[in-house]
């Protein structure tokens, strides 16, 4: 019963969906203010979702069953991540051993699900988007995991999110050290790619391949994809806060840190042009991975 409550209501589905949609609004509003516009009202993303629920769901002829199954799978896994992180923030001692690994795996699933859904729709533009998304996942996953290894080294080899939290509460946050700062920077860049924000949004590139991976989706499945993106927009900054910046986790500090990270990624999004996919891969496997390895070496020396 308590697990169901956790999954469906408080740190899970309902709460994370609301926070995610509101952070999606912050994204749109800050973007609008940067472009000297006014921007939509705060309930805009909720309205978009309700509207999409009322639309017709079109399944293209020749689409496989994965076309409708994949958005649901993606949503379920992101809710699970949100639940694990939310419960850990509230009660660090309730986390289980190895949940960091579980979270890392579950965070790849939304990307995989987008690839599966796009390639089962049978649209050539969607398949271009899917191939780009696939390459992008291969690109950012390596430095992201390396930057998390830095955290594991800093917190004495623990792969339990609760004990990483406790370690930071006792010994100061990971961000305060040189290697932690480097790893945090890398994690933010990888988060940008994971969320599909602008320097790395080539899988959805609106201007060249229309909506890319989402081109054939309409109605309910599209709403589920939007909701998944919204929950990821809440989950990823929360994960980064927990791993790197968890010295002080009172509610006010948590909200402040969340908004700081959110606004900084929105600023990155709005001040950069879109990279080509080969440039993105070269960027992730070249300088970013190199920096991540330097961060690991620094962490091993205890800096």
């Amino acid at each position: 019963m308590k697990i169901l409550f956790n999954y469906l209501i408080f740190p899970g589905f309902l709460f994370s969906a609301c926070v995610g949609l509101i952070s999606g609004w912050i994204d749109r509003k800050v973007t609008a203010r940067i472009q000297w516009r006014v921007g939509p009202p705060w309930y805009q993303n909720f309205l978009d979702l309700v509207k999409l629920l009322g639309k017709e769901t079109i399944v293209p002829s020749g689409a496989k069953i994965t076309f409708l199954l994949s958005p649901v799978l993606g949503l379920l896994s992101t809710i699970l991540v949100a639940t694990i992180l939310g419960v850990t923030v509230r009660l660090p001692l309730e986390s289980f051993a190895g949940d960091l690994i579980v979270v890392l795996y579950l965070l790849i699933i939304p990307a995989i699900v987008i690839i599966i859904g796009a390639s089962s729709s049978g649209n050539p533009l969607a398949s271009i988007g899917a191939s780009r998304e696939m390459k992008l996942v291969l690109g950012y996953e390596l430095p992201f995991i390396l930057s998390i290894i830095v955290v594991i080294i800093k917190s004495a080899g623990s792969i339990q999110i609760g004990s990483i939290l406790n370690h930071q509460i006792n010994f100061g946050s990971n961000l305060a050290s040189f290697s932690g700062m480097l790893a945090f920077l890398i994690a933010i860049i990888c988060m940008q790619a994971k969320l599909g924000f602008v320097p790395f949004d080539m899988s959805e590139a609106e201007q060249e391949i229309m909506a890319g991976t989402l081109i054939e989706y309409s109605g309910l499945p599209l709403a589920i994809f939007k909701l998944t993106k919204a929950i990821l927009l809440y989950t990823m900054p929360l994960l980064l806060i927990i791993l790197f910046w968890a010295k002080n986790l009172t509610i006010l500090a948590l909200v402040g840190k969340f908004i700081a990270i959110l606004v900084s990624i929105i600023l990155i999004k709005n001040t950069n042009p879109r990279l080509r996919i080969d440039q993105a891969i070269r960027f992730f496997w070249g300088p970013v991975t190199l920096l991540a390895i330097i961060a690991i070496v620094l962490a091993l020396f205890g800096l």
Binding site: R37, Q44, K55, Q207, M210, L214, I215, Y217, G219
Partner: protein, 146 residues
């Protein structure tokens, strides 16, 4: 009033279907997204795929090729989908009516909800047209005639 249609009027996603226009109307449509007019205040965004569209913004006179494309686009869009004819060409073909490559007007191909005349219409006129469209949708639902 139906909640879903109320939400539809507050978040119109617009697909820009250019049926061989002279591009003046398209430039005026893009003006709507600029800081001066900013239609994202009302939840109106330009989207890339016809599957996501709530409204097709048709500009220009359809010729033999774009006529078929327009029909296809309308059948690809998820219902309910509204059609807005922007510019005098899309409203009534004006001087191209007797042209050899103008087989029909827009409303003979797809059902048009709102006509916005002008060559090109000002952005203010387009906003007024969209407001009329929203009023039409909400009236249709309050009287249950949709």
């Amino acid at each position: 009033m139906d909640l879903k249609l109320k939400a539809l009027t507050k978040s119109l996603w617009v697909f820009h279907a250019a049926c061989s226009p002279c591009n003046n109307c398209d430039i005026e449509v893009l003006d709507l997204l600029t800081p001066r007019h900013d239609v994202e205040r009302f939840g109106i965004v330009l989207i890339g795929s016809a599957r996501h569209a709530d409204a097709l913004l048709v500009t220009g006179v359809p010729n033999y090729k774009t006529k078929e494309r327009l029909k296809k686009l309308y059948s690809q869009a998820a219902q309910p989908c509204l059609v807005v004819a922007v510019g005098s060409c899309a409203c009534g073909r004006i001087m191209f009516r007797d042209s050899y490559n103008s087989p029909c007007s827009v409303d003979e191909v797809v059902p048009v909800s709102v006509y916005i005349p002008g060559c090109p219409p000002k952005p203010e006129a387009i906003i007024a047209g969209i407001v009329k469209l929203i009023e039409k949708v909400s009236e249709a639902t309050t009287y249950g005639t949709k």
